[in-house]
Amino acid sequence: MSRVERCYRQLIRLLPAEERAARGEELLGLLLDLEGDRHLPSVREAAGLLALTVRLHARRLGIGRLALGLFGAYLMVVGTTSGAQILAAILAPGAASSVEIFGFTGFVVALACLGSAAAWTLGAYRVTLMLFGLLAVYDIHALGATYLPGTGLGFFILTLGGIPGLLRDAIPVIGVPVLLGLAVKRQPARVPARFGLAGLVAALAVQTATFAGSSPVTAFGSEEFSRHYAAWILGGACAAAAAAHSRRRSPQVLLAATATAFAGGWIVSPAMPPSYATAMAAALCACEAVRAISTRRVSLRKAPAARA
């Protein structure tokens, strides 16, 4: 056995067992044909094989769709919150929200959040990635500011609440782009964006009204704060549900997303406002579960006809 064959066999061993059994030898033969007389695997082919391995494992675990759903929820919540803060600052400059926009930098970051949510809704994944790259760069700055004092402002609008310190700030920077690499398709299905955009606008309106109507000092746990918090959650829930529905086009998905997000956000402690992002993630998990169940039912109904 040549050295290049030995190397490729080791790489192919990383593939999911089912894929390896079905097509491992075929893939090995193809790789050896392409390498010719080389003594070592080429970087291009080896890197491609590793990427394929990651994609196949992610597909087997269902991570791709879930990652898309989680990322969509994250964007919708952060986007509508950011956009609402901008609008509230313009429409009602005297009012104050519990999360403020810090200067020009924060304004740009907030616009990037809103833009990425809109791009995601419209299916413009490359624009989403570009804007999210900007946000990730900013979050690196926020990490430095928080854990390396003296480097600048810390700004937590991008972070998920309810999760301690470094892990909370690192999630958007490290985790989501990695998941995106697994989940984003090159050619997404074309679905009408009208419903998603309508949800985005509705959520924006609800949250803007909430921010604009906040008193300068709103105590956590007060009745007024609870009402505003409920509006935040409902606005974010509508946005996430609309984003999910614009892709799934299923009433069950819509109901599951809205109900789960609202209930989840209400249950999670109101002392951590960004925790509704976690509620949105729960909503999108519910969407995926409903979709998976619906799909399985449909496939079972079709099976007898296919066999005939």
Binding site: R44, E45, G48, A51, L52, R186
Partner: protein, 116 residues
């Protein structure tokens, strides 16, 4: 097949005349694209997987050559239909573009869809 990628289109075209195995497909795709597209093994693997799932191609036979397994794929009737549809669509787009370019070459400036 909605929004067929160029890679999938070229693979289907490479299978139009006869069944081929992976290495031959990569060579044919490179020839069809004048060297512009050189597929990696992993990329071809994914393309073949998608096309097989959509029943546009099917497994034809396996051969062992010099200790290496070579799996041959063939174009299905559905695949031939999808290839023809996509080819017609691309030809129509190309014809429309050429018509516009001929008008441009004739010195006519197009505005609002009107031709002089």
């Amino acid at each position: 097949m909605e929004n067929m990628s160029e890679q999938a289109f070229l693979v289907l075209a490479a299978l139009a005349d006869q069944p081929r195995h992976g290495y031959a497909l990569i060579a044919e795709v490179a020839a069809e694209s004048d060297g512009r597209i050189t597929l990696r093994a992993s990329t071809l693997y994914a393309v073949l997987d998608r096309l097989t799932t959509r029943e546009l191609i099917a497994h034809d036979r396996d051969e062992v050559d010099n200790g290496r397994l070579r799996r041959y794929y063939r174009l299905t009737d559905a695949g031939a239909e999808a290839l023809a549809t996509e080819a017609d669509r691309m030809a129509a787009s190309a014809d429309a573009a050429r018509r516009r370019l001929r008008l441009r070459a004739g010195g006519t400036v197009l505005g609002g869809g009107e031709a002089v």
